[in-house]
Structures are given as structure tokens and as C-alpha cells.
């Protein structure tokens, strides 16, 4: 069973204190006014008295490391790819040149172009911290421990336990494009379908459409060369117009 690193989040426990957002920024040195994670609000309409109480929900989130990552589909060089080993959608910063195709291709706005590195950036589950045996920064610092991280396919891990125990009633954020996100919410997650549409930039669309044409042209000229080569080898003798030296 392949590993799938993911988060199981109890949005009912979130108090929107922004600790996870602050911790992520510091841990990953995210530039000014750029963010890797967020807390979504439903515009809670004030409800006076007993009737409307307790319904407000704040929904913490970040890159959902989808099973059908539209961002990866928009990346020409495979600089971002879904890691087969642990299901993480990784950005190889050495290979990414910051062309920005993947950014609008994420329906959740989880990606941005890091203003300092000038490359695509998003939640990567704090690999440096995990290498130290620590939880990702947002999970570690959350006051109400709403965020739980781990391999949801491993029944021993807490995330796995939560995932498997609540498999049927777990909810996921919906988007116009179904990317099969791997961020699961226990119980009422508040805003449900705020995901937008995965937009592939026109240049990438053009490249995709031109690829078969290019292959066609190359194939055509290749055939032409083969034809000439064939003629040269088979009918080499009959046109010795200009015998060479």
C-alpha cells in the first residue's frame, strides 16, 4: 500500500488564531505578504441567541497534495511531480525556473511564485523539520491540535488512525476541477466548495496543441529523408549526372 502523506483536520476545533500561518512563514522563510497555508472563513452572519449558536467554522488548509494534481499536468519539465513513494507533490527547486504555469493550475490557490527564490512554492510538509523527526511547523504549533499529519495509509500513525476510523464521513474541499485532494476534514469543515477552476495558461495550452503538429512535421521530414535514402540506395545507379571526384 503506497504511502500517502496527508493531513486530517478537525475544523470544528480551529479558532482562527493564525498560529499555523505564522509558524509556516517562519519555518520556511516565506517572503513578505506571501503565504503557504491559510485559514478559510465562511462569512459567518452574526446569529443572536440560542438558535444560531456554535455553527461558525474556521477551516485551516494548505496544498492538498492531490491524487490528480492539475499543477503537475501544467508543468512542462516535471519540476513538480507527485512522489510515488510517499504521495507528496514535490517541487524540485533546482529544476523549476519559475515559469508560473502551475500557479493558476491549482484550483485552491495553494501555489505562489516565491518572490525571493523566483520559483514555484507551496506547502511541502516541512521536509527539514521531518528530517529532524519533528512535525510540520503548523501541526506542531496548533493550540487545539486541529491539524494532524501523517501517512493516512498507515493504521499505526495518528493520521492513519483518524482517516481509517472516519473514512466514510470525512469531507474534502470541492473545486470546479476535481483534483482528488488529500486533505481530509473531520466533521463540519465550514466553507465546502470554495475551490476554483484549474486554469492552464494559454502558453501551455498552445504547447500541448502544437506538440502533435511538431511531431507531425518532424515525422514528415523524417519520411522525406527515408524516401531519399531509399531512392539513393535502390536507384543509386540511374542518375549519375555529375559523377563526383
Amino acid at each position: 500500500m503506497a504511502r500517502q502523506l496527508a493531513m486530517v483536520i478537525d475544523a470544528t476545533k480551529c479558532i482562527d488564531c493564525k498560529a499555523c500561518v505564522a509558524a509556516c512563514k517562519v519555518a520556511n522563510k516565506v517572503p513578505e505578504d506571501q503565504w503557504r497555508n491559510w485559514i478559510k472563513h465562511e462569512n459567518e452572519v452574526p446569529r443572536v441567541g440560542a438558535a444560531g449558536g456554535g455553527k461558525a467554522r474556521f477551516q485551516p488548509g494548505a496544498c492538498m497534495h492531490c491524487d490528480n494534481p492539475t499543477c503537475v499536468a501544467a508543468c512542462p519539465t516535471g519540476a513538480t511531480y507527485k512522489d510515488a513513494e510517499n504521495g507528496e507533490v514535490v517541487i524540485n527547486e533546482g529544476l523549476c525556473i519559475g515559469c508560473g504555469n502551475c500557479i493558476p493550475a491549482c484550483p485552491y490557490g495553494a501555489r505562489f511564485r516565491n518572490a525571493e527564490k523566483r520559483k514555484a512554492d507551496k506547502c511541502n510538509y516541512c521536509p527539514e523539520r521531518r528530517a529532524h523527526g519533528l512535525e510540520p511547523a503548523c501541526v506542531d504549533t496548533c493550540p487545539t491540535k486541529a491539524r494532524v499529519f501523517g501517512d493516512i495509509n498507515d493504521p499505526q500513525s495518528e493520521a492513519g488512525r483518524l482517516y481509517l476510523a472516519n473514512k466514510d464521513r470525512l469531507k474534502r474541499v470541492a473545486a470546479l476541477t476535481d483534483t482528488k485532494p488529500n486533505m481530509y476534514y473531520l466533521g463540519d469543515l465550514g466553507p465546502e466548495a470554495w475551490g476554483g477552476e484549474a486554469v492552464v495558461p494559454a502558453s501551455m495550452v498552445a504547447m500541448k496543441q502544437s506538440a502533435p503538429l511538431i511531431k507531425g512535421i518532424v515525422a514528415l521530414s523524417g519520411l522525406g529523408v527515408l524516401a531519399m535514402l531509399g531512392r539513393q540506395l535502390l536507384a543509386g545507379s540511374d542518375h549519375k549526372e555529375d559523377g563526383d571526384a
Binding site: D10, T12, K13, I15, D16, C17, K18, A19, V21, A22, A23, K25, V26, A27, E32, D33, E44, V45, P46, R47, V48, G49, A50, G52, G53, G54, A56, F58, Y81, D83, A84, E85, V90, N92, E93, G94, L95, P127, E128, R130, A131, H132, L134, A137, D140, T141, C142, P143, T144, K145
Partner: protein, 730 residues
């Protein structure tokens, strides 16, 4: 992984391999040599050290990660039960506090007029000489009490008090008299002690005048969420604003500001009227039930409904639900209670309802402070016969806390030079210019001083108007004494701080500064110890504590949680929970809280109320680079109905003016606030231009708030300012 993301940065590769030539030939040796193993992500070489956060008073335990001498991350200490192993947004932003480019770097002496902002860098020795010399002069000319000392909530603030006492001055104020003394007073005079709420085990909580899910993150915030989500606790919130706490609570009522007492007395009316209290507990443990029964007859739910704007049947129902869940239910004590001139009596009504619920010293109720076992480090201060008789704010309000004093009363006394003159002021890590109401008066007060010394980490407005500004060290650069902390049902513990990075610039810890000044005033004998020695004496009664502190970052004293008062008397005159306070009676204060309706908000004016946001610490973090990104400026919350009437749209620039001052900021038109109330955050638009982010970013509430105070404790009354709001034509 198909290709390792070992970061071979291009530049070194480019330089190192002289690729240009090799590339042309493309020899296999070159290509073969570059193969790298599928290395796991390299764990950065960081060292870790324990400390306690200082971004608010909570002192949550943290683990700092330091990479070659530079702080890179502050993580929660999972072993720190008081903070439930968390670190809030401000705690995480501590790094931007330490590395704030606007941090004070070396001692500065004022040039030009006060508040003009012209400074001259001077060496430390010259600065300490001057501070001592000026303090000696004040003592010579105006007697020792002619010098005022103020310190914020900090582990080293006790040394400011020590300096004041050995110098001979009784005049010490702190931020407590701008915040929680009314609440402390009320619960102290009811239960004999200021309680800690055992929210975790509570089943029913009324939260009035507190906003635990939003204003700040305390142990109660986490426990409240656990109690609600896992133990089925019900939360009822009374707040003129629809705060995040209100949004998450089971019931919310936009109570009319200033009418909480009517609500509480109505609860008492129902609980007593319908005999919903534990008669045996009341008989054994409380005093004054008869007087209270008589007193609350008049405060029917109907009366409270009319005053508070909350339906009478809801009030009665809540009273019954609250009593039914007793003793594991409470009216949440809260902290900041600097609201009205009768705030102490308002909070007395909170305490009295808790008394009726019999929840004192029991699970789910109010807990006494648990033994921590830290020893005090006594010293015998000298005595100066040539001195004033008492504090300058003494004998003005009946129940002032002796060593907290009242900033508001002190300020008035200083301005009036009555009963005597004060001409010197020493201030450490507190910013009355941003937190005290009526900033003009604070400026006037500063202008009366011959010499003001401020020790702080940044050029706050208070430092901006001082004469000598000394750069202090942040909490991660210095050695601090031990401190005992109460973690309600989770723990009572001890924390300490050791430096985790080299001190920046020429900053020095407050202890060294005070020790330097004391030495120059021949008071060195009272500071003839090192912080380590001080700590050893503090820990004398706790064998092995120092090692455990070094190992875990926290030391737990396994002290009793509940039943601390079994067989012990309450520290009240009747030695019981005083529903009816005898001492008040002796002093001519209402022994039972008498409700007086708040002044009506004048037509087309609004009542300006205070509130907090977990991303801003009063007047000290608005310049924090990280927190600034969350809250770049403050806004004026304004209800849509009056906004429409005044032609104000969301985001418009508006001017807020009161009897004492005016400021302009953006309006935030929202239905999350009553139509007769407006609100803005504290700590914005500093005058000091050496705080680049906090200067000119919204409005300073201190400029607009009027300066009344609580008649019992002298605590500031910050909810009694009426303002007019007008659209500012740009």
C-alpha cells in the same frame, strides 16, 4: 524519488566544474561523476534550547532552533503543560521581535525638544552615570518618593521594584492598573484569592467581558475548545461584538455595554428565587446569603432584559442551566476589566454568581493558586526618614492594590503636583503612551519630569518622549530569574530563561542596567548577586529542579489541584466566601454590587469599546515584521445602519473624535457590532517615527480614549468614551 532534490545550487556547480569546456566535449566521465545518491532531505544543522515566550504575559514554554548563531524557528515545548504544548502566532513571531530592524541598538540621549525625535548616541558608562546622577538629584530635590518607577509584566520587572524600594520611592505603577486589577479585586474580596478557571472540566460557561478564542491564546482557550468539543460543555457569550468566541459559542447575545451587572444579578435572582443552589455548601462556606437574597429581589430577569437587551426568558433559562450544571459551571472570571468606573462591582457580581454555584476549589469550577514552591529572595531595604508619608496616589480610592497603584490616579496627582511633586521616571518594558487613555495627559505628565529613563527593546512612544533610552535585550538573549506559573488543572510549574543567541548590538539586560545604577547610588549591596545565584536561592526549596529545568525546560511541582481549601479558612473577614463583603461595609463601599445603568449614548455618537486580537500585544508588537503582515493597520468597526446614516462605506477614511482627541482610520462596516458601539484595536499609529511599521498605520486609541477610572481600585475605565464618527473627505 526519481531525482533527489539534493540542492546542488547552480552557481557553485557552474563555477566548480568549469563546465563550459567540458560541456563541449560531453565526456562520459563528466556525466558519470554527477550521479548523486537518492539522499533524504538534508536535516539542517540546528541546535535547540529551551526558553519561555515573552510576547505576552503567558510565558509559554518554547524550544528555539538556532542555526550557526541565528534564531531560525521557535517551536512549542511539547513537555510544557501550561501552554498545552502549543505556541500561538505571536509566539512564532518572536523571531521578528528579536531581529526587528527598528530595534534599539545603543544608549540614546535626547537632543532637541521632548518628542521631537532627535537623539545622540552615547556610551553605556556615560548613560548609567547620567541616569544615576539624575536620580540622585531628584531624590535630593524632591525626596525619594519624588521619583516614579513603572515596569511591565516581565521576569526582570521585580528588579525595578527592588531598585525603587532601596532608592526609597513607594511610587511604582504597572500596566495592571490599566487592565485586570478590578477583576482581581472583586474575586479577591469574594473568595480571598484571585482564581484560575478549571475550564477543561466545566460543563457550562458564561463568558462576559472576555474573548478567549480570539483576544489571546491562554491555557483556557485550549481547554475551552476541548471542553466544548469533547466534554459537551456549553458556552454562552455576552459581547457587544460578534467575536470569534461569539461565533464559536453555543449562544451569543450582543449585550448593551455596561449592563453586565444587571445580567449577573438577575442570574442570582433566579438561582436564589428558585432555590437552585446547594444549600449545604452555601450555609457552610458562604457569608451573606440572606443579605444577597434581599438585595437581588429587585433585579428580576425582566429588569435585566430591559437593561441588557437580552430576552428575559433567555436570562432565566441560562440561570437555570448554569445552576443545573453546578458545581462544574462558572461565570468565566476573565482578565482585562478596565471598563467602567464601577468595574470592580461589576466583577463582584460575576464572583457572587460563582459563589452561588459553589464551584470554588472543585473540578470544573474556580481553582485556588497551586503551590509552586519557589522561594522569595528577601532583602532589607534601607529606610529614609526624610521622605513623603505614602504613595502619591494613596488615599484616593479605597481598595487600591498597594504595590500596583493606579496609573490614572498617579497621573492626575503628578499633573497637579498634589500631594507632592514627582520629577523623575524610570520605565521598563511598558508603554503607557500607547495603552493609557487620553494620550495628551500622558504627554503632559512626561513633560513635567526633569528626567525620564526608558529601558526597552524598541523606540516605543514612551521612549520617544523620554530623555535617556537604554536598549534592553530580548527574552532570548538574556538570563532571567525563575518564575512560578499556574496552569490551572494541568499544572503548576517553574520556568527560567537562559541566553540562546549572542546579545544583539549594545543591548543589556534590565538587571545589569539596574545593578549599574544602584552601584552608582551606593545601593550596590542590594544587587550584589548574579542571576544564577538569585535563581539558586529561588530553587532552594525544590531539590533537583535546576537539572529538570535544563532537561525539560520546565519543572512541575506535583501540587494539589482541588480541595486546597479543605480545612483552610478563606482570606476574608468572615473566613468564608463573602457574598456580602464586610470589609466593604466597614469602608463605606457597597457590600453588595448595586446596579447603576451606564450613561446613555448621546444621539449620533457611539461608545468606543476595547478588545484584543491574538496577533497584537497592546502597544508593543504593531512594529513586528511578521505580525504586521497579518494586521497592517487597525480599522474602526461600524455597524451598517449608522454607517449608512453617516454616508460611510466599508473602507472609507473616517475621523473618530472624542472630548479629548481625534484620529482618522479606515472604517470596517460590519454587522458584527452593535449599532451604538464602535471598536478599534490598541497599539497603532505610534508617534515614534523610529517604528516604521507602527507609525501612521491607522489610529492610536490612546489619543481618543477618555481617562476616567474605577472608583474602588483606580483601574482605568476604558469603555466610557463617546465618540463622533465622520467621513473624512480625502
Amino acid at each position: 524519488m526519481p531525482d533527489s532534490n539534493q540542492k546542488l545550487s547552480r552557481r557553485d556547480f557552474f563555477k566548480a566544474s568549469g563546465l563550459i569546456a567540458a560541456g563541449a566535449m560531453g565526456g562520459p566521465a563528466l556525466l558519470g561523476g554527477l550521479r548523486t545518491a537518492q539522499a533524504a532531505p538534508k536535516a539542517p544543522a540546528w541546535t535547540s534550547g529551551f526558553s519561555a515566550c515573552d510576547m505576552c504575559f503567558n510565558k509559554c514554554g518554547l524550544i528555539a532552533r538556532v542555526e550557526d548563531g541565528v534564531l531560525t524557528k521557535l517551536d512549542p515545548n511539547p513537555k510544557f503543560l501550561k501552554s498545552r504544548g502549543m505556541l500561538c502566532a505571536r509566539g512564532n513571531a518572536g523571531i521578528s521581535h528579536v531581529y526587528d530592524p527598528d530595534r534599539l541598538k545603543h544608549p540614546l540621549l535626547r537632543k532637541g525638544a521632548r518628542g521631537e525625535g532627535k537623539w545622540q548616541r552615547i556610551p553605556w558608562d556615560e548613560a548609567l552615570d547620567m541616569a544615576a546622577e539624575k536620580m540622585a538629584a531628584v531624590r535630593r530635590d524632591y525626596l525619594p518618593c519624588g521619583h516614579l518607577f513603572s515596569a511591565g509584566s516581565d521576569l526582570q520587572s521585580q528588579f525595578v521594584g527592588r531598585l525603587a524600594e532601596v532608592y526609597g520611592s513607594f511610587n511604582i505603577t504597572s500596566h495592571e492598573s490599566l487592565c485586570l486589577v478590578s477583576n482581581s479585586r472583586a474575586f479577591l474580596d469574594t473568595f480571598g484569592e484571585v482564581p484560575f478557571a478549571d475550564v477543561l472540566h466545566s460543563k457550562y460557561i458564561i463568558m462576559a467581558g472576555a474573548n478567549r478564542f480570539e483576544a489571546l491564546v491562554t491555557p483556557d482557550s485550549m481547554d475551552l475548545m476541548t471542553a466544548m468539543r469533547e466534554h459537551g460543555c456549553k458556552l454562552v457569550t455576552l459581547d457587544p461584538r460578534y467575536t470569534k468566541t461569539a461565533a464559536l459559542s453555543d449562544e451569543w447575545y450582543p449585550i448593551r455595554p455596561g449592563t453586565d451587572m444587571a445580567f449577573m444579578l438577575a442570574l442570582a435572582h433566579v438561582i436564589i428565587g428558585e432555590k437552585l443552589y446547594d444549600a449545604q455548601w452555601i450555609a457552610e462556606k458562604t457569608y451573606g446569603i440572606e443579605q444577597l437574597t434581599e438585595h437581588v429581589k429587585q433585579y428580576t430577569p425582566g429588569f435585566a432584559a430591559e437593561q441588557c437587551g437580552i430576552p428575559a426568558e433567555d436570562i432565566a433559562r441560562i440561570a437555570r442551566e448554569l445552576a443545573a450544571a453546578a458545581p462544574t459551571s462558572m461565570v468565566y472570571p476573565g482578565r482585562r476589566s478596565s471598563d467602567y468606573e464601577d468595574s470592580t462591582q461589576i466583577r463582584r457580581s460575576f464572583a457572587i454568581v460563582n459563589g452561588l454555584l459553589g464551584n470554588w476549589d472543585r473540578p470544573g469550577g474556580l481553582l485556588a493558586a497551586r503551590a509552586v514552591g519557589l522561594k522569595g529572595v528577601p532583602y532589607d531595604a534601607p529606610w529614609y526618614d526624610e521622605n513623603h508619608e505614602d504613595r502619591i496616589d494613596a488615599e484616593t480610592v479605597p481598595m487600591m492594590f498597594e504595590h500596583e497603584g493606579s496609573f490614572m490616579v498617579t497621573r492626575d496627582a503628578v499633573l497637579a503636583d498634589d500631594p507632592y511633586k514627582i520629577r523623575g521616571w524610570f520605565i521598563y518594558k511598558t508603554n503607557p503612551m500607547a495603552t493609557a487613555p487620553n494620550r495628551k495627559k500622558t504627554i503632559e505628565m512626561m513633560n513635567k519630569m526633569d528626567f525620564i529613563t526608558v529601558v526597552d527593546i524598541a523606540m516605543s512612544d514612551t521612549a520617544w518622549f523620554a530623555d535617556l533610552v537604554l536598549p534592553s535585550q530580548s527574552y532570548l538573549e538574556r538570563t532571567d530569574p525563575c518564575s512560578g506559573l499556574q496552569g490551572s488543572s494541568a499544572c503548576a510549574c517553574v520556568v527560567k530563561r537562559d541566553p540562546l543567541i549572542e546579545p544583539l548590538y549594545e543591548s543589556r539586560p534590565l538587571f545589569d542596567i539596574v545593578k549599574g545604577i544602584a552601584g552608582r547610588l551606593d545601593l550596590g549591596e542590594y544587587f550584589d548577586f548574579t542571576m544564577q545565584e538569585f535563581r539558586t536561592r529561588q530553587l532552594a526549596g525544590l531539590p533537583g529542579a535546576e537539572e529538570i529545568l535544563d532537561r525539560d525546560g520546565v519543572y512541575y511541582n506535583p501540587s494539589k489541584v482541588y480541595g486546597i481549601y479543605d480545612g483552610r479558612v478563606y482570606k476574608t473577614l468572615s473566613k468564608k466566601v463573602e457574598l456580602y463583603n464586610q470589609r466593604y461595609e466597614q469602608m463605606g463601599i457597597d457590600p453588595l454590587p448595586v446596579y447603576t445603568p451606564p450613561a446613555k449614548v448621546p444621539a449620533n455618537q457611539f461608545r468606543l469599546v476595547i478588545g484584543r486580537n491574538a496577533l497584537v500585544t497592546q502597544g508593543s508588537t504593531a512594529n513586528n515584521g511578521l505580525l504586521h503582515q497579518f494586521v497592517p493597520e487597525n480599522t474602526l468597526w461600524l455597524n451598517p445602519e449608522p454607517a449608512e446614516r453617516l454616508g460611510i462605506a466599508d473602507g472609507d477614511l473616517v475621523e473618530v473624535s472624542s472630548a479629548v482627541g481625534r484620529q482618522s482610520l479606515k472604517a470596517e462596516v460590519t454587522d458584527k457590532i452593535r449599532s451604538d458601539t464602535v471598536y478599534m484595536l490598541t497599539g497603532f499609529n505610534s508617534l515614534s517615527t523610529m517604528q516604521h511599521l507602527a507609525h501612521g498605520n491607522g489610529a492610536s486609541i490612546a489619543e481618543v480614549l477618555d481617562g476616567k477610572y474605577d472608583t474602588v481600585t483606580g483601574n482605568a475605565a476604558l469603555h466610557q468614551t463617546f465618540v463622533t464618527v465622520t467621513r473624512k473627505v480625502a
